[in-house]
């Protein structure tokens, strides 16, 4: 049944720290690089050297600006990939069972051997996490690097998703979000990790950590405002005079 599993043994997923993501696209490109030769190979690129270069990617990095009422702005980089939702609508709408959620670890996958390319799952996903391979006629998506994280041919430290191991800022973490004792769960708890579009009822497994409050002298920022001047004479003449005979060091 493609109906969703009642419960999964684990909830493997990603945690993305928006406080330190610098928007470098490393995760997106390394994801593409790994997956282009992995389970979903190839991730076709249409018109690679032409007018409309475009292709299949599982991870895409946006940049947003926020502006509050007082006019304070912030720029936030925002990587977007499949959230491996607990109540994944992409799975339940799929007519073929190609789209499914694994009971073992909660990873949402597409079985490209039976996908008919009806695209309904991409309509059902609010997050734009599904990428249709127009050349192959099947749907593809983030696999949570399933053939990397369990890969016994790779050294232990490489057994994390490509986007995680490559992220230069360390903005991405991977682990079992179903286990409250896991590193990622603790991180989420400590940093106020949140769901994207909770109102869509998808119960995403992946979490995002919010940017920490700026420390730019606004209300609530406890930094000192100004140094006490030892002397305010013009051109500092008084100060220099003070120093002439003083052992300062």
């Amino acid at each position: 049944m493609t109906s969703l599993p009642e419960k999964t043994d684990k909830k493997l997923g990603l945690v993305v720290d928006l406080d330190i993501c610098v928007g470098c696209h490393a995760c997106a490109v390394n994801c593409k690089e790994w997956n282009a030769g992995a389970k979903s190979a190839p991730l076709t690129d249409y018109d690679p050297y032409g007018k409309k270069p475009d292709g299949v990617w599982f991870n895409r990095v946006h940049t947003y600006e926020t502006t509050d009422e007082a006019g304070h702005g912030q720029t936030v980089h925002f990587p977007r990939s499949c959230l491996h939702c607990e109540d994944a609508p992409c799975v339940t709408v799929c007519p073929t069972g190609a789209s499914y959620k694994r009971e073992e670890d909660g990873i949402v996958l597409v079985n490209e051997d039976i996908c008919i390319g009806c695209k309904l799952c991409s309509w059902a996903c609010p997050y734009g996490a599904r990428e249709y391979d127009e050349n192959e006629g099947v749907m593809k998506k983030c696999t949570l690097c399933i053939d990397k994280i369990y890969n016994e041919n790779l050294p232990q430290e490489s057994r994390v998703p490509a986007c995680v191991s490559t992220c230069p800022a360390g903005a991405r973490s991977f682990g079992d979000l179903g286990d409250p004792e896991s590193e990622v769960s603790k991180l989420v708890a400590a940093r106020g990790g949140y769901d994207l579009m909770p109102e869509q009822g998808t119960k995403p497994v992946n979490k995002y950590l919010p940017p920490r409050p700026r420390q730019d002298g606004r209300e609530g920022d406890k930094a000192p405002r100004m140094l006490e001047h030892a002397d305010d004479s013009t051109e500092g003449a008084g100060l220099i005079a003070r120093w002439v005979d003083k052992i300062l060091s």
């Binding site: 049944m1 493609t2 109906s3 928006l18 696209h25 997106a28 409309k52 270069p53 475009d54 292709g55 990617w57 895409r60 990095v61 946006h62 940049t63 947003y64 600006e65 926020t66 502006t67 509050d68 009422e69 720029t75 936030v76 925002f78 609508p89 339940t92 709408v93 799929c94 007519p95 073929t96 069972g97 190609a98 039976i114 996908c115 008919i116 390319g117 009806c118 695209k119 309904l120 991409s122 309509w123 996903c125 609010p126 997050y127 734009g128 990428e131 249709y132 127009e134 192959e136 099947v138 749907m139 949140y194 769901d195 994207l196 579009m197 909770p198 109102e199 869509q200 009822g201 919010p210």
Partner: protein, 318 residues
């Protein structure tokens, strides 16, 4: 949403086909239509043709049409699967009904039972189609009861209008009169449903915003200043379709005028202008007009529907 030709054609054509089937089944059960073979061939044939062409068009536009048969397996959860299944099952009673009518020259008794069953399954298929759209939460313009109402009314409506014209062609004035009245009622209902639908999608409070999509709403207004890619991608082509308000208004006028008002007036006129070719011409005009109007309506149904993913690409709320 991207108004793909194939889906527009599929939903309008098979909608009309199922609509015809529904009324043929009902009329036969009521004994209101004589099982004339040529009439049967034309009406049932056309209905089948519309249904099959619609299904075929949507199947051929799958990425992997050769695997279409796999779409039946997930009827427990997927409305698309259910639609496929309903469509296939519907063929059984409808086939029997058609066989009885055309080959055996009867549409009453057991045949009528088959016809009624076919009608019910046709309605069910339409319902499934509607639910495919109505079940999609990321698209608030679809995720509502009026979407279902629309499909349930517009299919039978276009079927009735089409049947009217055919009955007139065959000089079957009695069933024609019934379908005319049905058409008038359905055209009025259809218009009301669509008006209610349009009113809803225009005034409904947004479900998701750029703020909830990014979780950055607490920081203020969220605007995209950097895109992950400089060219269109699948998501934008499929779901980023956006239609200018003015353009939509124009199409809406066309949809209302041609889809509902003109057919209504034409069919109303057939009640008074009964002589000669007038009823046929008017009902044919009604059919043509309705088809164009519904194509516009369906185009709008897609084009106006905004998907939550656009929130990541600059849309403020859907």
């Amino acid at each position: 949403m991207h108004p793909a030709k194939s889906v527009i054609f599929f939903t309008t054509a098979s909608g009309a086909g199922y609509g015809m089937m529904i009324w043929l089944g009902v009329l036969a059960a009521l004994g209101e239509v004589y099982p004339d073979a040529s009439l049967g061939i034309v009406t049932l044939g056309l209905a089948f043709a519309l249904i099959v062409a619609g299904l075929l068009s949507s199947t051929l536009h799958l990425g992997r049409p050769e695997r279409a048969w796999r779409a039946l397996s997930q009827w427990r959860s997927s409305w698309l699967s259910r639609e496929g299944l309903a469509a296939i099952i519907a063929f059984v009673p409808l086939g029997i009904f058609a066989f009885a009518w055309v080959v055996m020259g009867t549409n009453s008794g057991a045949a009528a039972m088959a016809g009624l069953a076919g009608a019910a399954l046709s309605l069910l298929t339409l319902y499934c189609t509607a639910m495919i759209y109505a079940s999609l939460r990321p698209i608030p313009a679809w995720h509502n009861g009026w979407t279902v109402a629309g499909y349930l009314v517009l299919g039978p409506m276009s079927g009735a209008v089409l049947l009217t014209a055919i009955f007139h062609l065959f000089g079957q004035s009695k069933p024609a009169a019934i379908t005319s009245l049905l058409s008038l009622a359905l055209l009025a209902t259809g218009l009301l449903v669509k008006l209610a639908y349009w009113n809803l999608i225009r005034n409904e409070a947004p479900v998701s915003t750029a703020g909830t999509a990014t979780g950055l709403g607490h920081l203020g207004k969220v605007e995209m200043t950097g895109s992950p890619h400089d060219n269109d991608n699948y998501l934008l082509r499929e779901m980023g379709f956006r239609i200018a308000r003015k353009h939509a208004e124009k199409l809406r006028t066309i949809a209302v005028a041609l889809g509902f008002v003109l057919p209504f007036l034409c069919l109303l006129a057939t009640i008074y202008l009964t002589g000669g070719l007038m009823p046929l011409l008017l009902s044919a005009l009604a059919t043509l007009s309705c088809a164009i109007g519904l194509a516009a309506e369906r185009w709008l149904f897609f084009a106006e529907a905004r998907h939550a993913v656009t929130l990541y690409y600059g849309e403020q709320a859907v």
